[in-house]
């Protein structure tokens, strides 16, 4: 009985999801292996994956209020635009796009979720209230959302990553190369894999950062009221400098913070290993924890 009702529920959900998208659109166009692919969609989903073919494949499920999908390819530039009725602020399209894996990808959306996988070229992904999920390889990546979350999976390869969200959380796994991440009140959860330069900033969200830095790397993190928890090891060690105006400072290597001579505030500084890298942590009222091992 229970299994039967479960199956009926699942079937109902499937039918509802199918009914939400009234039309289907499919198209393939030739594209250059290292061309630029530009995608825009108002709401729904945008899933982009890289493949070995020199063509762009678009599969779209369209909801009410969507006029159609315009696909054009000229020279090294492919454009995919979901056209909505001017008055429509709801509805949208579920897009599944395959692009040559070394393409440069440019995605913009309003409330659509954006996800990418196996794309090796430069990626610029932005959405307003949707979530962004991306895999990064060795090329530069720029990710932006206002109220959505950001999830980035790296491979420890040196790349330049800039990712920001206003209200959502930001998760980065295996970040290598140069990393710049920021939130306002979302949490920043970052795992590093041989990063060369890290800049992380949050206002009231907490930052949790662990993993490894490369030789001579720099790590700078600051918050106003969010706590900073940094557990990182670096080839050649690092010099550290931690300051907090009214928050507490603690570490895992038995160093004691000193209180400033004039006014409030405390500071912890010193060197781990040979001090090749540099770690600088700043906060107004958040607590700071620093450890020299992940």
């Amino acid at each position: 009985m229970r299994i039967g009702s479960g199956l009926a529920g699942a079937l109902l959900m499937l039918l509802t999801a199918t009914a939400a998208y009234a039309a289907v659109f499919d198209r393939q166009v030739p594209a250059q292996p290292r061309g630029v692919v530009e995608i825009s969609n108002f709401s729904g989903n945008i899933e982009v994956s890289g493949w070995d073919r020199s063509e762009v494949s678009v599969h779209a499920e369209l909801a009410g209020g969507v006029e159609g999908v315009a696909v054009s390819s000229e020279g090294g530039h492919t454009s995919i635009k979901v056209r909505t009725e001017a008055s429509v602020s709801q509805g949208g399209a579920r897009l599944q796009v395959k692009i040559p894996k070394e393409s440069e990808l440019d995605v913009s959306a309003m409330s659509a979720h954006v996800s990418t996988s196996s794309v090796l070229g430069i990626q610029r992904l932005s959405t307003v209230s949707g979530n962004v999920t991306a895999e990064i390889a060795g090329a530069d990546v720029e990710l932006k959302t206002v109220s959505g979350t950001v999830q980035v999976k790296g491979r420890g390869q040196p790349a330049r990553l800039r990712a920001s969200t206003v209200s959502g959380d930001l998760h980065l796994q295996h970040g290598g190369g140069d990393i710049e991440v920021g939130t306002i009140n979302g949490a920043l959860i970052v795992s590093l894999d041989g990063a060369r330069s890290v800049r992380a900033r949050t206002t009231s969200g907490d930052l949790r950062l662990d993993g490894t830095l490369s030789h001579g790397a720099t790590l700078e993190a600051s918050s106003i009221s969010g706590s900073l928890t940094v557990r990182t090891a670096a080839d050649g060690g690092f010099a550290y400098e931690v300051s907090s105006f009214s928050g507490g400072i603690s570490d895992c290597f038995n160093a004691s913070p000193e209180h400033t001579q004039y006014g409030p505030g405390s500071r912890l500084s010193g060197t781990r290993g040979t001090g090749a890298g540099h770690v600088r942590l700043r906060t107004l009222s958040g607590n700071v924890q620093l450890c020299d091992r992940p």
């Binding site: 825009s40 969609n41 108002f42 635009k81 979901v82 056209r83 909505t84 602020s89 995605v107 913009s108 959306a109 309003m110 409330s111 932005s126 959405t127 307003v128 209230s129 932006k144 959302t145 206002v146 109220s147 920001s164 206003v166 209200s167 959502g168 920021g182 306002i184 009140n185 900033r201 206002t203 009231s204 600051s222 106003i224 009221s225 300051s243 105006f245 009214s246 004039y262 006014g263 409030p264 505030g265 700043r282 906060t283 107004l284 009222s285």
Partner: protein, 195 residues
């Protein structure tokens, strides 16, 4: 079962009410006595008047001292530590207001381009937020409130320790973050365009 008294009697017409009612007591003697006290106070001696005036002057001087102290304190806010990145606007800070109606008005950075850009973004904010779905609007509003609180906290801390380089750096960061949020929200509501 008791009969209703005369005062509890149900009135069915205005004509049934008395034309005039005499007060139970004559109130004039009390009023006259109080007026007499006031007149007597007005007839204070010049020495008494001078003493009252001096008390008012002392109070005004105290208020002026406090105001000058606050003004001087504000004058030492960001930009005086040699960073050269920001200058100071000595206008007094305004109360923290709900960000939807008025994201921070107070501007400590005197660069006119910054001021113009920021003012335009703040003017635009309401309309842009209105284009977002309610849950997202609430989230962004909460973020703007977090920035407002951060600024207020930093300004308060700088009031205690105006030359603190850490606080100045964090305040500059917060201004930058506020501009980033305003810019992102501004660029956010073009359908199909995204930020």
């Amino acid at each position: 079962m008791t009969e209703p008294s005369n005062t509890d009697r149900k009135v069915t017409s205005l004509r049934e009410l008395p034309q005039s009612i005499e007060p139970r007591h004559d109130l004039w003697p009390g009023i006259e006595a109080r007026l007499g006290d006031i007149r007597a106070a007005d007839g204070a001696t010049p020495a008494q008047r001078r003493a009252v005036r001096m008390r008012w002057l002392a109070a005004a001087a105290m208020v002026a001292c406090v105001a000058i102290g606050v003004w001087v304190g504000r004058g030492l806010l960001p930009g005086t530590a040699g960073s050269g990145t920001v200058a100071v606007n000595t206008s007094p800070p305004q109360a923290v207001q709900p960000p939807v109606n008025a994201v921070p008005h107070e501007v400590y950075v005197s660069d006119p381009r910054y001021q113009e850009q920021r003012a335009a973004l703040v003017r635009d904010l309401q309309a842009r937020l209105a284009a977002l779905p309610q849950p997202q609007r609430d989230k962004v509003t909460a973020s703007l409130q977090a920035i407002e609180k951060a600024k207020a906290d930093l300004e308060e801390a700088l009031g205690h320790d105006p030359s603190n380089a850490l606080l100045q750096e964090l305040l500059v960061n917060t201004y930058q973050d506020e501009m980033r949020v305003l810019t992102d929200v501004h660029e956010a509501s073009d359908p199909g365009r995204g930020i």
